[in-house]
C-alpha cells in the first residue's frame, strides 16, 4: 500500500520530493537573485500577453475602428462576425479558409507520416543488421547531415518539373520521404539500444522480418515516433516557405494567410477579419500542444543528449 502511494504513474514521488528539496534550497542572496529573474520572466510573459490581448481585440473591431480608434481600447461593439467572415472572405487564388484548412490537413498528415517513418525504417535496418555497404551508408548519411548543401531549391524545382510532380501532392511525399534526415541518427541510436533477444524470440515463433519490424520492434519505438509526430506535425502545420515555392496551387493556412496578408497590406483592407483568420489558424497547434505538452516536455528532455 505504502509502495503504491510512493509511485504515481511510475514516478518515484519520494525521489522527486528529495530532488525538489535539494534544487530549491536557497540562501537569502539567491532568493533575491531568483526574485529578479522572476520579475524579468514575468515582464517577458506580459509582453507576449499584450500582443495576444491586442490581436484578439483588433479581430473584434470594425475596419474603421481599427484604423482610426485607439489601438488598445476595447471595441464599441464586439464584431464576432469577423470570425465567420474570415471563413468566407479570406480567399487566395480561389482558395478560401476551408480550402486552406483542408490543404493544411493533408499536407501535415502526409509530410509527418513520411518524415517520421522513413528514417525509422533506415535507422532500424542499419542498426540491427550486418550487411555489405552498411558502414558506407552510415558514413555517407552522417557526412550528408554534417555538410548541408545550400541553394538546391532551383535544381529541385527543375527536377520536380521534369518528373512532373511540381505543384502536386506527390511533391509532399517525395520531399519528406528521405530516410537519412537528422532523426535517422536518433532512431539508429534507439534501435541499437533495443535488445536483439526480441527479434530472436519472434524468429523462433516463426515471424518473418517484416512481422518482426512491424509487430515487435516498431511498437517499441512508439514513444519516439509519437514525439516526432507531434513536433513535426506542428512544424509542417506552420510551414509556408516550402508551400509557396513547391506547391503554390495548394496554399495551406500559413502560406495562404501570408499571401492574403500581403494583399491586405497593399489595399489597406479588412484587417480585423484577417486577424480573426490568424487566430483561427493557431487553434489546432495550440490544442495539440495543450494536450501533449507534458509528453513533449518529458519525451524530448529524457530522450535528449547525455551530458
Amino acid at each position: 500500500m505504502e509502495k503504491s502511494m510512493r509511485y504515481v504513474n511510475g514516478i518515484d514521488r519520494k525521489k522527486v520530493k528529495k530532488q525538489k528539496d535539494i534544487l530549491s534550497r536557497r540562501t537569502p542572496g539567491e532568493r533575491i537573485f531568483f526574485s529578479v529573474v522572476f520579475v524579468v520572466f514575468s515582464l517577458q510573459t506580459l509582453s507576449y500577453l499584450l500582443m495576444v490581448y491586442w490581436v484578439v481585440l483588433a479581430s473584434l473591431k470594425t475596419p474603421m475602428e481599427y484604423f482610426f480608434g485607439k489601438q488598445l481600447a476595447f471595441p464599441n461593439e464586439l464584431m464576432f462576425s469577423n470570425y465567420s467572415k474570415a471563413f468566407s472572405g479570406l480567399q487566395v487564388d480561389g482558395t478560401n479558409l476551408f480550402g486552406m484548412i483542408f490543404n493544411t490537413l493533408w499536407y501535415t498528415a502526409l509530410a509527418t507520416f513520411f518524415a517520421i517513418m522513413m528514417p525509422c525504417i533506415t535507422g532500424y535496418c542499419i542498426s540491427k543488421f550486418d550487411f555489405k555497404c552498411k558502414n558506407l551508408i552510415y558514413t555517407v548519411a552522417v557526412i550528408n547531415l554534417m555538410i548541408p548543401v545550400v541553394g538546391t531549391a532551383p535544381a529541385n524545382i527543375k527536377f520536380l518539373n521534369v518528373i512532373g510532380i511540381f505543384d502536386t501532392p506527390l511533391y509532399v511525399i517525395w520531399s519528406h520521404s528521405s530516410g537519412f534526415t537528422g532523426s535517422f541518427l536518433i532512431y539508429y541510436g534507439f534501435f541499437k539500444s533495443v535488445s536483439r533477444s526480441y527479434m530472436e524470440a519472434a524468429e523462433i515463433d516463426g515471424a518473418n522480418h517484416f512481422a518482426i519490424f512491424f509487430k515487435v520492434m516498431l511498437p517499441q519505438a512508439v514513444p519516439v515516433l509519437l514525439t516526432y509526430a507531434i513536433t513535426n506535425s506542428i512544424s509542417y502545420w506552420n510551414d509556408y516557405q516550402s508551400v509557396l515555392m513547391f506547391i503554390p496551387s495548394f496554399p495551406t493556412l500559413a502560406a495562404g494567410l501570408y499571401l492574403y496578408g500581403e494583399l491586405e497590406a497593399q489595399r489597406m483592407g479588412d484587417f480585423p477579419r484577417y486577424y480573426a483568420g490568424l487566430i483561427l489558424s493557431v487553434i489546432p497547434p495550440l490544442v495539440l500542444f495543450a494536450c501533449t505538452s507534458s509528453k513533449i516536455m518529458t519525451s524530448l528532455s529524457v530522450g535528449g543528449l547525455k551530458g
Binding site: 500582443m51 533506415t122 541553394g151 530516410g179 493557431v282 513533449i296 516536455m297 543528449l305
Partner: protein
C-alpha cells in the same frame, strides 16, 4: 555410419535453414532500403549535383564562370541595402547573437532546473512562440510596432509623440529583426538543455551545496562542464546551419532596409525572381556550402578539443 549420415543430413538442413534465413534478411533489407537509397541517390545526382553544374552555367545553359563573377561582385557590394555583402554581414552577426542567445537559453534552462517559482507556467509560455506559425507571430509583431500601432499609443504615454518606422527605417530595421528573433526565442533549446541538466547526478549538486557552493559556481563550474556535450552539439548545429538562417525576414521586411540574410537571399531570388536567378542561386549556394563545410568542421574540431566530463 547411420549417425554420420544423420549428422550430414542435419548439417545440410541447418545450412538450408541458415540460407533461408539469410535470404529472408536480404529480401527484407532490399524491400526496406531500396526506396531510401534510391531517393538519396536521385536527390544527390539530380538535385545536389545539378546545383553544382548550374553554378557553372548561364541561364541560357552556356558553360561560364560569369555567374561566379557576378556573385563575388555582389559579395563586396556594400553600397546596396539588398546584396550578398549585407546578407553575409547579417548572417555572421546573427551567428554571434545566436551564440550569445545560446548562453542565455542555458541560463533559462538552469533557472527552470532550479525549480524557480512559476517554472511550469514560464516553460509553456516561452515555448509557445515555437509552436505558432511564424506568419502569425511576425504579422502580429509587425503591426504592433507600426507608427499607428499599439506601441505608438504606449510610448505616447511616456512622452514620445512620434514612433519611428521601426521596420522601414534602415537605422532601426535590422535591430528590430534581431530583437524579434531574440524576443521569440526564449524557449529555444529549452528541452534539450533542460534534459541534459536533469541527467546530472543530484549527489553532485547536493555535496556542492553542502560545501557552500553558490549559484554562479554551481552553474559555471559544475553544471556547465557536465552538460558540455549537449551544449557543444547545439553550438555545432548553429554553425552548420548558418547559411540557411532566414530570421523571419520574409515576414518582417522582405529583406529590405539592410535586413537580408544568406538564407533569405536564396529564398528571395528563387521565389520572387524565378528562373533568371536560378544559376546565381546555385553559384552562391555552392560557395556557401564550401564555406559552411569549412566552418562546421573547424568548429567541430575546436569543440572536440574541450573534453566532456564523463559521469
Amino acid at each position: 555410419m547411420e549417425n554420420e549420415i544423420l549428422s550430414e543430413v542435419d548439417e545440410v538442413k541447418a545450412k538450408k535453414k541458415k540460407k533461408k534465413a539469410q535470404r529472408g534478411v536480404t529480401i527484407f533489407l532490399c524491400v526496406m532500403l531500396a526506396y531510401p537509397i534510391l531517393e538519396f541517390l536521385v536527390s544527390w545526382i539530380f538535385v545536389k549535383f545539378n546545383t553544382i553544374l548550374m553554378a557553372f552555367q548561364l541561364p541560357t545553359g552556356e558553360w561560364s564562370l560569369l555567374t561566379f563573377k557576378a556573385v563575388f561582385t555582389d559579395m563586396f557590394n556594400t553600397q546596396a541595402t539588398f546584396s550578398l555583402a549585407v546578407a553575409l554581414r547579417n548572417t555572421f552577426l546573427w551567428l554571434l547573437v545566436s551564440i550569445g542567445s545560446l548562453f542565455f537559453h542555458y541560463f533559462i534552462a538552469y533557472v527552470f532546473y532550479k525549480k524557480m517559482l512559476g517554472t511550469k507556467f514560464f516553460r509553456i509560455v516561452f515555448y509557445i512562440p515555437a509552436i505558432l506559425s511564424e506568419v502569425v507571430v511576425a504579422t502580429v509583431f509587425k503591426n504592433f510596432i507600426l507608427t499607428n500601432g499599439p506601441l505608438a499609443d504606449i510610448v505616447r504615454i511616456f512622452g514620445i509623440e512620434q514612433l519611428p518606422q521601426l521596420l522601414a527605417d534602415p537605422d532601426y530595421a535590422n535591430k528590430m529583426v534581431f530583437f524579434y528573433n531574440f524576443w521569440t526565442s526564449w524557449g529555444g533549446h529549452m528541452l534539450l538543455l533542460g534534459g541534459a541538466l536533469v541527467r546530472v547526478p543530484l549527489e553532485v549538486i547536493e555535496s556542492a551545496r553542502i560545501d557552500g557552493v553558490g549559484v554562479w559556481r554551481e552553474l559555471v563550474q559544475i553544471l556547465f562542464p557536465m552538460t558540455w556535450g549537449s551544449f557543444s552539439t547545439i553550438l555545432i548545429l548553429s554553425f552548420t546551419g548558418i547559411f540557411g538562417v532566414s530570421n523571419s525576414v520574409l515576414m518582417l521586411t522582405h529583406g529590405y532596409n539592410g535586413t537580408v540574410t544568406a538564407g533569405y537571399w536564396i529564398f528571395h531570388k528563387t521565389y520572387f525572381e524565378g528562373a533568371s536567378a536560378y544559376n546565381q542561386v546555385a553559384a552562391t549556394g555552392l560557395i556557401f556550402t564550401v564555406a559552411g563545410a569549412i566552418i562546421a568542421l573547424g568548429v567541430r574540431w575546436l569543440v572536440e578539443r574541450i573534453p566532456a566530463v564523463e559521469y
